[in-house]
Symmetry: C2
């Protein structure tokens, strides 16, 4: 496949009329003069379009897209106890299937090519994701109220370890829902199979305060004392951190999945990204689930992260567009050890964005990153994962049928 006459970003500058050659699931060449050497002869005209490497959604619960708009504007505990948990108790693999596909539709439309998920029914999530063609890191959620799940993690890893799109992982929910035994067992399995560990960490003030009261240390200190923290950990939220916590996170090379919109909507708080950044922590961006966001869109997440952090620290010059763009791309590629980027040899996970939109005007040589972070509003035309075209010209084959089916599935779930 040849993507012809695209614009790309190079060191924040716009470079026009570039051809990108894709062979099977990888980029094999990228150059202005490149001819099509691919076997399939497929050519995508990308004139007037910007090619970006895929965005990575570093924290979500994708099947919960089925709960979008089901319960908003509520305090956390009534929201969970009265709305979310009763619905989750009734979930079937069929619900998961359509919730995941619905979520995939939205991410494909937003140029997200890979997501990191923690939820239930992960085999079904993997199947639905593969059918949609996205890449995903999947972990069945582990907590002590369901002690049976941990025994399923190794078989799950073995089933999916060699898959081209699905990367199995371990997902101990949080320090306040998992015993020391569960945390240590998760870590042991993750190390044995060399997979990631996905955990919620220090999301709410009350959770952190009550943990400290009961255990005499912060959740971060506690996990560190267990030897749990390392570069294979993706820790979602990380809002209520002490200076010592921040040092530990940076030193242990823990990857932070920052979820700005969810943190604001649930009033969880504003993460100290400035201090995390200064300490050298690797920060990625996640949407969290669509029941607390309610979108799955990293363009929104980038803008909200940048402006909220500027305001929180009274510094409009901090969290510049280029830094925030890195959080959604390069930082995440490093966290997930993804061989991604617009360069020969990388996986062919990318999106084409229509530049002929008001929000990209005026376009100069060096304001493209600003436009992507601060003004882009939709306009993703084409999304490609592993060389497979998932959307072209804004059309995802079968989208309407999935929307109808997801709608029906939700109605079935709430009346079940």
């Amino acid at each position: 496949m040849l993507i012809k006459d695209a614009s790309i970003m190079q060191d924040g500058k716009l470079l026009r009329d570039v051809n990108i050659a894709i062979e099977e699931n990888r980029i094999v060449g990228i150059d202005p003069g490149l001819a099509d050497g691919s076997s399939d002869g497929e050519v995508i005209d990308a004139s007037g379009m910007l090619a970006i490497p895929g965005l990575i959604n570093a924290h979500t619960h994708l099947a919960m897209t089925l709960f979008r708009g089901y319960a908003d504007d509520m305090e956390l505990m009534p929201w969970l106890e009265e709305k979310i948990w009763p619905l989750e108790a009734k979930l079937t693999s069929e619900d998961i299937h359509w919730g995941v596909k619905l979520g995939c539709l939205e991410m494909i439309r937003a140029g997200i090519t890979c997501y990191n998920d923690m939820y239930y029914f992960m085999d079904e999530t993997a199947r639905a994701t593969k059918e949609m063609g996205l890449r995903a890191f999947l972990s069945e959620v582990l907590f002590d109220m369901r002690p049976d799940i941990i025994a399923t993690t190794e078989p799950f890893i073995k089933r999916w370890k060699e898959d081209d799109l699905i990367v199995p992982a371990l997902g101990p929910h949080a320090v306040y829902t998992c015993s020391e035994e569960t945390l240590l067992k998760s870590k042991e399995i993750a190390e044995k199979h060399d997979v990631m560990l996905h955990i919620h960490l220090s999301e709410t003030r009350s959770e952190v305060e009550s943990f400290a009261k009961n255990c005499g240390q912060s959740p971060v200190e506690y996990l560190d004392s267990l030897g749990f923290l390392s570069g294979r950990v993706i820790a979602a939220h990380c809002i209520w951190l002490s200076p010592k916590d921040i040092s530990i996170i940076a030193e242990r090379k823990v990857n932070v999945a920052h979820c700005s919109i969810s943190n604001h909507k649930l009033a969880s708080g504003i993460a100290p990204l400035d201090q995390l950044q200064m300490a050298g922590a690797n920060i990625c961006l996640g949407t969290d689930g669509a029941s607390s966001n309610n979108s799955l869109n990293l363009f929104q997440e980038m803008k909200t992260t940048a402006i909220a952090q500027k305001c929180a620290h009274s510094r409009p010059d901090l969290f510049r567009a280029g830094e925030v763009w890195k959080m959604a791309t390069e930082n995440a590629y490093a966290a997930f050890r993804l061989d991604l980027g617009l360069r020969a040899g990388a996986l062919a996970d990318l999106a084409l964005i229509d530049l002929k939109k008001p929000w990209f005007c005026p376009l100069t040589g060096d304001n493209i990153v600003s436009h992507l972070v601060y003004s882009a509003q939709g306009g993703v035309d084409t999304t490609i994962v592993g060389g497979r075209v998932l959307m072209r010209g804004g059309v995802i084959p079968g989208e309407e049928a999935i929307l109808d089916r997801a709608q029906q599935q939700f109605q079935d779930l709430v009346t079940r």
Copy 2:
């Protein structure tokens, strides 16, 4: 014109298969069984679409859309002194024309049918806006460094007073840029011609503190002492307010144009909307200029307002979707005395939104407002102002030519 088989919102609920009849610039009927009694016989099939009354952008500087992405991530004073003011010093009416048209394109795409603007070259702004077909409240910016402008305001009002789309207004910039004489003269002219007063109020902490230091009272107290404050005032920002300021704003029925994204991006601060609301103030939403946002999209503004306020007050149950929706619609209709809404007799300013998008799924009878505020991402299909169709099927006639021309005009401006 008949809009056929639309869905509409009624008290937050979804009502399907409604027909909307439009005669000249007004809605003449709205009912499920309504037949087309219009003379032009034009029918718009709106099945699968939601009809909403037009959104009102209560504060912007539209021609500055030409500066989008020109200067970001800077402190306020260097941003103004090094970037914005030097560019503004070179502005011609040709720049204004294309900047305004570019801004109109973006607002039409976002279902905004009317905007409230303060800037330079208002006759040119009016002409460009009329050509694009939007409704606008326009005020030439007044400040003491340009004492000549105030003499142009009455002729401007007279020229445009009877126009069907353009509503002239007075725009004294702020208390720290306008003398008492300018403020009083503005008020006098506004009262004489019964037009609105558009002013920036208490946007930055330093501006409010230095005003208090010099004058012994807050900007709000000062304006009140002049008798300036009334229901004809639209005050943009209103961030740094004392409890007394808040009482005055509510008591005088001043309309607040809250600009959440700009306030965050410039790190100006978070407005005390909770206290303003409790005091009974009328709150509307504005985007501010695209040089400090960088979008002109009230869907973004609604979401950011809701989530930022929830977080600022640690109350996820405050600033519910329905309340924030009102800020972009009904509150603004009241502020600007606009006869708007989906009802017979109202001006035919409305938008049709495609509901067959992932972010509207699942759709129940009562989550539509939540979807509009928290998950809607583009998908405005049709925008109509005063009965004239400005966009249909996502197509705005002449859009590409405007984008090309605006791009060229910006390049001309920066190299001039």
